[in-house]
Assembly symmetry: C3
Homo-oligomer: 341 residues x 3
């Protein structure tokens, strides 16, 4: 069960072109391509005739031709040709999903198309702003998307999962403040006068203790912006500020697999080698998360199969953000279901 009347990141703009691309989103196979004028298209990726994936067919102009029996569909999902016959039944069509390119990502709307308002796309402007130097990527993680939301709303795990990059003892030992209103969840952590983690030392040559801010904002269903700012304790030197955002677009592929679109735009040191260090450090840390999340998912699946129910968990203080986000998702799911009924 997924929230459908929301925007999810489907791809980076360069992934969608004149080659047919299949990607599972919210458990649905989706076909992506660009029309000749560059407009991106997303269609349900199963021919309504006999379920052949359209992504195994051919792109002819702006039309996709099924690779099995040659039925053709335009970018609106309408069937435009059935070989050997002139009559085309109107219900011979596939769903077309609204797409919007924004913040250097392509966003998809898998719910009621009439409700697809681009203004509802979350503010990820740092990824497309001349004052910020972006870098980013995508991970495919074999876990339910909520495990990744939990992960990003509780950064105390940095201490144990990322000790060689962004984590040290100070993170887990510093309690957070959690706020929630208007369906938004914020988890705020202020670490003062503590050592810098290894990646920060490498990037900024911090020699003493630092003050470090980690402010996380979650908006439904799965958008997470982490505001990260560090500077030497007691310093006012703007050149010594290490500031970046971690932008996370978390898109369920299936019930047990997730696309993690991420970017870490920063506002200092635009040099390419710093970008490379930032990118490599991010990839290293996120790869550590992938390993943890897939092991966690496997254990949850084993426990669920053994007991015939989801495992019962003990909550700790640091979970408050994740629990509030799960509660809000549950409320929104019930609302979507009530509207459908």
């Amino acid at each position: 069960m997924f929230l459908r009347n929301h925007w999810y990141i489907a791809a980076t703009p360069d992934e969608i072109g004149r080659d047919l691309l299949q990607r599972f989103i919210l458990d649905e196979p989706v076909l992506f391509y660009r029309k000749k004028d560059g407009t991106p298209v997303a269609l349900a990726d199963a021919c309504p005739h006999r379920s052949m994936p359209l992504s195994d067919g051919a792109l002819i102009g702006d039309t996709v031709q099924c690779g099995y029996h040659g039925l053709e569909f335009d970018g609106s999902g309408a069937c435009t040709k059935i070989p050997g016959q002139t009559n085309i039944p109107p219900r011979c069509r596939v769903s077309a999903y609204p797409l919007v390119e924004k913040w250097r990502w392509v966003w998809i709307w898998m719910g009621n198309p009439e409700a697809a308002d681009p203004a509802a796309i979350p503010d990820f402007h740092w990824n497309d702003d001349p004052d910020w130097i972006p870098t980013g990527g995508r991970f495919y993680i074999k876990c339910n998307y909520q495990l990744l939301v939990d992960n990003l709303l509780d950064l105390s795990h940095e201490t144990f999962v990322h000790p060689s990059t962004i984590g040290n003892a100070a993170v887990a030992e510093t309690p957070v403040r959690t706020e929630s209103d208007d369906g938004e969840v914020r988890v705020l952590r202020q670490i003062n006068g503590q050592p810098a983690p290894p990646l920060y030392v490498a990037l900024k040559n911090f020699t003493g203790n630092i003050d470090r801010t980690q402010n996380i904002t979650w908006t439904p269903p799965t958008n997470i912006v982490i505001e990260s700012r560090s500077m030497p304790s007691g310093s006012n030197d703007p050149d010594m500020i290490l500031e970046y955002r971690v932008l996370n677009g978390i898109t369920p592929a299936t019930a047990t697999a997730t696309h993690h679109f991420w970017a870490t735009p920063r506002n200092f040191a635009p040099e390419e080698d710093v970008t490379k260090a930032f990118h490599d450090g991010s990839v290293r840390a996120f790869s550590e998360d992938v390993e943890v999340l897939e092991k966690q998912q496997a254990m949850i699946e084993h426990q669920a199969a053994l007991r015939g129910r989801d495992p019962t968990w003990i909550d700790i203080n640091a979970d408050q953000g994740g629990l509030l986000a799960r509660r809000e998702v549950k409320r929104l799911l019930e609302s979507e279901q009530a509207h459908r009924a």
Copy 2:
């Protein structure tokens, strides 16, 4: 659910010998071997004692010995020895399935043995006729058998799946005539004055347009004969006729896997290099079908798991043959079930 009171191709004669062979047919594991006098034997391939596959045992004379506890079974399925005891309970036996060697294939009957009439074996005589030069093979396809029946009863797919061998635009654009009587389904296509597909040009050096006949006959449960005849448009030169049959014995292995026994006997150019060209072209085309069918099967399984029911399909004109065959199979299945009850 499979039709059982019918003949299915189980193997080619050379596959069955003095080595024990296991093959799944209609979801049942079947053991094949030949007696010393050459008679082929088919037995249920699970020891009734503790379910060990008998095909992992040994052939001693005409008797198979289980490789675990040494129980022995003769070619009728009767147990002839239980080590360490003299009493053999009569119900200690395995099913023996009637086999008939005909048309250079071995046919198996998995239903009521008393109803096994060799006269009901379909006419595939072209595979064993001095006037025809045969070649053939077997594919194991990870799809339900009905997808392959559909495939062979609607050759419009040649245009899109086989453009480098037997397909071109003319096939899909030429409507078929579909006939059905006495439980037999015929799909007839006559293409006149159209270019020849690439494999035909290579085989016959056609330089102009051709007239091409494709007449398909399906008989239950899964036997398909395709009569194919082509000649230059307006010509009467018998040397320029390209005529062959495509014989298809489609044997369900499991609900999601199928044995495709095929042969393409022709009545021209008996030279070995033509046979090789014919064989290679057939393998190439059928391999393209395997790819399509397995992708189609995977998508159907995904849709069924997601929606909790079989996908709903849009039918087109070209589907009429496949739909009639499916309807006849349904009718026969209900009849078999009624007889059993």
Copy 3:
């Protein structure tokens, strides 16, 4: 469904050390390690917080630290630290399973800890006795544990599965006597004046017929001692006696996987090259069993899926031991369930 209030072999002593070890036992993931003083510890291997396997964490002193959020648990399963907070809810703990090191194995108790009486550990003393020369190992077999119990309670299979080591025609042809009392099952075979099997000839240079004793004792749930003694027929020469035990600790990993802990202590020829021959012969024979058991399990799973129920088996005389053991396990399971309810 497994019997829980019994001792099972969990590991050999050298497998448990300062590295965290995960092993599935009775379908539960279990974490093993040793405290600094050498005491072995077994804990449920899933953090109660968010199901992360603790075995992916770190051992700090005698405490295991979860690799995700840093919760710490001592050897009793109690949580001793939750980073960022001082309050530790008492129900934040994991099960600790009693362990006992005996007979050079580590035994685990997965049932009610208060009922864990080390005196109930079966007598496998031959594996830790100066008069006996032990050798042993462990197999991981993808089958239900009862198939291995059946295997070891009916050695007639030696004739067919192990003809190159311990089996020959005499084994299967010699009937057994089966006894049962006090929940113990004994299967006794006395073979007189028959040729020696190949491994025995290699070990003892038997040149004529031998008298061979195979006495099997099963105690619940899965402990099997095979007493094996052979000597030249009519001889009284103590130097010509070939005597050993086969000790079997059969520990269910999951419903379809089993740990087979085995040892073959002997009381003759303490030389290392004889130990190596004995070890290699045992490994060879047990490997043949693994192959049989995994094929049997696969066929049983296919039959169960196809028919929607366990396969119906024909019993033979040699099955009596296995049937009595299965009946006793069923009785004990019902008793455990009644006590729990």
